[in-house]
C-alpha cells in the first residue's frame, strides 16, 4: 500500500517547513464532470489534502455559497455513492477527506459507508453535525475501517469540552477561526492565534485553520499560526465561474502557505 495516509503527508509538509493547503469542494458542483476536473486541478495546484463535501438538503452550518453549491449538486443527482465513485475513479495522489452531515451517511448505511469509503481510498471523515462523544458507535465503525476522524474545534470549545473534543480525533484538528457558518470574510479573526495555542496545549495533532479564508494573504496569515489552511467557500465560488479562476486562486493560496515557517516541534 502506497502511503497516502494523512500522517505521512504531514511528515512531508513539516519537512518542507510550510503549511498544508486543504481545499474543500462540493461534490457535483457545478457538475459531476467539473468536480472530476477540479479534483485533479487542486492536486496539481498543490493541495496536500482534499476535502470532498457530500451535498445535503439542509446544510445548517453553511453559509450562502455552500448552500447554493449543495443545492445545485443535489439537482445534478449527487449522493454518497456518487461521491465515493468520484474519489475512487480520480485516484488522487493526496489523502481525501469526506466532509458530510450525518444523515446522508446514515441513509447510505454506516457500515456500508465505512467499507466502501475504505475501498474508494478515503483517508478521513469529518461529520459536521456529529460533535465528539455524541454517538460513539458511529465513530467506532469509521475508525475500525481505518478512517481518521477529523474533529471541529470552535472558539466556544473550552475547558473540559476541549479535552473531550480532541479525544479520539485523528488526522488533524480543524479549528474554526471564528463563530458562524462557512463563508468568506475579509480578515482573519484576531482571536484565532489564541485559540490555536489553546488547542496546542491539549493535543499533539496538527492544526488546520478554516472558515472564512479566501485570499493568499489570509492563507499566509493563517499559515503563520496553524499547520494547515482550509479554503472552502472562496474556492467553490470560483469553481462556479470556471476551472481557470479556481486554478488561479489555488496558485495564490499555495504561495501563501509556502513559508518557510518555524513552528513548535510536535
Amino acid at each position: 500500500m502506497s502511503d497516502r495516509s494523512i500522517a505521512a503527508r504531514w511528515k512531508l509538509i513539516r519537512s518542507e517547513r510550510r503549511a498544508a493547503l486543504i481545499p474543500y469542494l462540493t461534490a457535483g458542483y457545478p457538475s459531476v464532470e467539473r468536480t472530476r476536473e477540479a479534483l485533479r486541478m487542486v492536486v496539481e495546484g498543490g493541495a496536500d489534502f482534499v476535502e470532498v463535501g457530500v451535498p445535503f438538503s439542509d446544510p445548517l452550518a453553511d453559509g450562502p455559497v455552500i448552500q447554493r453549491s449543495s443545492h445545485a449538486a443535489l439537482q445534478q443527482g449527487m449522493n454518497v455513492a456518487g461521491v465515493l465513485e468520484l474519489i475512487r475513479e480520480t485516484d488522487l495522489a493526496v489523502p481525501v477527506i469526506v466532509f458530510s452531515y450525518l444523515n446522508p451517511i446514515m441513509a447510505y448505511g454506516l457500515e456500508r459507508f465505512a467499507r466502501d469509503a475504505q475501498t474508494a481510498g478515503v483517508a478521513g471523515l469529518l461529520l459536521t453535525d456529529l460533535p465528539a462523544g455524541e454517538d460513539p458507535s458511529v465513530e467506532q465503525i469509521m475508525r475500525a475501517a481505518g478512517l481518521d476522524l477529523i474533529r471541529l474545534i470552535a472558539p466556544t470549545t473550552e475547558g473540559t469540552r476541549l479535552a473531550d473534543a480532541v479525544r479520539g480525533a485523528g488526522g488533524f484538528l480543524y479549528v474554526i477561526s471564528r463563530l458562524g457558518v462557512t463563508g468568506t470574510r475579509t480578515q482573519l479573526d484576531e482571536h484565532a492565534a489564541h485559540l490555536v495555542s489553546r488547542v496546542r496545549a491539549v493535543s499533539d495533532l496538527p492544526i488546520a485553520l478554516g472558515f472564512g479564508l479566501a485570499t493568499g494573504e489570509q492563507a499566509r496569515a493563517a499559515a503563520r499560526i496553524a499547520d494547515g489552511v482550509v479554503v472552502g467557500s472562496a474556492l467553490v465560488e470560483r469553481l462556479g465561474e470556471g476551472i481557470e479562476p479556481a486554478r488561479r486562486l489555488m496558485a495564490e493560496l499555495r504561495a501563501g502557505v509556502q513559508g518557510p515557517f518555524d513552528r513548535p516541534k510536535p
Binding site: 445535503f56 438538503s57 439542509d58 446544510p59 445548517l60 452550518a61 453553511d62 453559509g63 448552500q67 443545492h71 443535489l74 449522493n79 454518497v80 452531515y101 450525518l102 444523515n103 446522508p104 451517511i105 446514515m106 441513509a107 447510505y108 459536521t128 453535525d129 456529529l130 460533535p131 465528539a132 455524541e134 454517538d135 474533529r151 471541529l152 474545534i153 470552535a154 472558539p155 466556544t156 470549545t157 473550552e158 469540552r161 473534543a165 474554526i176 463563530l179 458562524g180 457558518v181
Partner: protein
C-alpha cells in the same frame, strides 16, 4: 449501604428517549447547550423561578385555560367531547407557555438577544410577546411561503417590535426557517438565546419545551377528573413538531387506560407524497440537532412537505414522539387537508369556536373516528385559535373576504 448498579441495567442516557434525541449539532453550539442545560436545571431547583413563571402564566397568559363541553360536536362524534382551550391563552395558542419559560431562562443567562423560527407564526408571535414584556431584542425567521400564508401574524410580530426575517432558501417554510435560525445562533451564540418553538432540536430543548408545555396536561387531567369523575378514554392532539401533543400527553403517559393519539398532517393524502406525516412515512434520521423520524428520500435528503396548515408543514418530529411511536404508547394517525378544513368549519358552526388549522386536524380525527360509546370521554387539545387562518381558509376554499 447501596449496592453498585449492575452493569447490564443501563439508565437511558440523559437527553435521549430510547435511541432518539441527542445533540447532533456543529461543535460551536455544544457550549451553549451545556450552559442551557445547567441553567435550566438550576432554574427548576429554584422555587423563585417556579413562582415567577406561574405568576406570569396566571396573570399575563391567562392560565388556567378552561376545559369546555361541546354538546353539538359531541353529538356528531357520538360521545362526550371536551376541549382543552389553549386557544384562549394570550396570543391565541399554547406556544406562549414555552416562550415565557425560555425568555426567563435567557434572562438568567444574561442573554439579551432572542431568536426564533416560526411556521404558522404563532410561535413567532409568542416569542415577540415575551420579548416585548421583558424588553429583549427579538429576531424571528420565517419562510417566505409561510409569510404569505400568515400575513396577519407577520404584522403582529412587527407591531411588538420584533424583526421578521424572510427565509427564501429551500422550500421556504418552517424547516428552512429553522436552518436559518441555527445559522444565526452559530454566529451569535455568545449573546443570543435560541427559543426553539417545539419539542425538537438538540437536547435539552425537547425535554425542556415538553416540561414548559406539560402545564396543559396537568391542568386538563385535574379538570377532567373534577368534571367527569374519571380519566378520559382518549386524548387527542395534532402533531407537527409535537409540542402541544407532548404537553397534554405527558401527564397521561403513566395511565395505561388512557388512549393517546397524535394526528399528523396527511396533506393531500399519503399516496400523493404531498403531506407532512413524518411518523407514518418517515424513518429515523438526523435533522435539526436530534435523531428522530424524518421524511427523507433514499439518499438521506430531506423531502419537501405539504400541509394546508403552516404549523404542521415540517419534515421532522420531536424525538420523544419517535420513541412513543416505537413503544406503542401513543398511536399516530393522520387526516387530510380536506378533513381538517371540514373540521374547521364544523367547529365554527356547531360550537362558535374557530380552531387553528393545526388544531382542526385533531378535531377532524375525532369526527372521522366516531368509534366511542356514549359513556366515553374524548379530550381534544385545541392548541390554538383560527383567527390567523381566516384569510388562508377563504383563499383555499374560494370564498371572498
Amino acid at each position: 449501604m447501596r449496592r453498585a448498579p449492575s452493569p447490564e441495567v443501563k439508565a437511558p442516557a440523559r437527553g435521549r428517549f430510547g435511541q432518539y434525541g441527542g445533540r447532533y449539532v456543529p461543535e460551536t453550539l455544544m457550549a451553549a447547550l451545556a450552559e442551557l442545560e445547567r441553567v435550566y436545571d438550576e432554574a427548576v431547583a429554584d422555587p423563585r423561578f417556579g413562582e415567577e413563571l406561574n405568576d406570569l402564566l396566571r396573570n399575563y397568559v391567562g392560565r388556567p385555560t378552561p376545559v369546555s363541553e361541546v354538546p353539538r360536536l359531541s353529538e356528531r362524534v357520538g360521545c362526550r367531547v371536551l376541549l382543552k382551550r389553549e386557544d384562549l391563552n394570550h396570543t391565541g395558542a399554547h406556544k406562549i407557555n414555552n416562550t415565557i419559560g425560555q425568555v426567563l431562562l435567557a434572562r438568567r443567562m444574561g442573554k439579551r438577544r432572542i431568536i426564533a423560527e416560526t411556521g404558522a407564526g404563532q410561535h413567532g408571535v409568542a416569542t415577540a410577546t415575551a420579548c416585548a414584556r421583558f424588553g429583549l431584542e427579538c429576531v424571528v425567521y420565517m419562510g417566505e411561503e409561510d409569510m404569505a400564508r400568515q400575513r396577519l401574524n407577520v404584522y403582529r410580530m412587527r407591531v411588538m417590535g420584533a424583526t421578521v426575517v424572510p427565509v427564501g432558501s429551500g422550500t421556504r417554510t418552517l424547516k428552512d426557517a429553522l436552518n436559518e435560525a441555527m445559522r444565526d445562533w452559530v454566529t451569535n451564540v455568545t449573546h443570543t438565546h435560541y427559543v426553539i418553538g417545539t419539542v425538537a432540536g438538540p437536547d435539552p430543548f425537547p425535554r425542556m419545551v415538553r416540561d414548559f408545555q406539560s402545564v396543559i396536561g396537568r391542568e386538563a387531567k385535574s379538570q377532567v377528573l373534577e368534571r367527569v369523575g374519571a380519566l378520559p378514554t382518549t386524548v387527542v392532539a395534532c402533531v407537527g413538531g409535537g409540542s402541544n401533543a407532548m404537553g397534554i400527553f405527558h401527564s397521561f403517559l403513566d395511565d395505561p387506560a388512557v388512549e393517546l393519539v397524535g394526528v399528523e398532517a396527511g396533506g393531500e393524502g399519503l399516496a400523493t407524497g404531498k403531506h407532512s406525516a413524518t411518523l407514518a412515512a418517515g424513518r429515523p434520521g438526523v435533522l435539526h440537532g436530534s435523531l428522530s423520524y424524518v421524511l427523507q428520500d433514499a439518499d438521506g435528503q430531506v423531502q419537501p412537505t405539504h400541509s394546508v396548515s403552516a404549523g404542521l408543514d415540517y419534515p421532522g418530529v420531536g424525538p420523544e414522539h419517535s420513541y412513543l411511536r416505537d413503544t406503542g404508547r401513543v398511536k399516530y394517525d393522520n387526516v387530510t387537508d380536506g378533513e381538517a378544513l371540514d373540521a374547521f368549519h364544523a367547529l365554527a358552526r356547531l360550537e362558535g369556536i374557530l380552531p387553528a388549522l393545526e388544531s382542526s386536524h385533531a378535531v377532524a380525527w375525532a369526527m372521522r373516528e366516531r368509534r366511542w360509546s356514549a359513556r366515553d370521554v374524548v379530550l381534544i387539545n385545541l392548541s390554538g385559535r383560527g383567527d390567523k387562518d381566516v384569510a388562508h381558509v377563504a383563499a383555499v376554499t374560494g370564498a371572498e373576504l
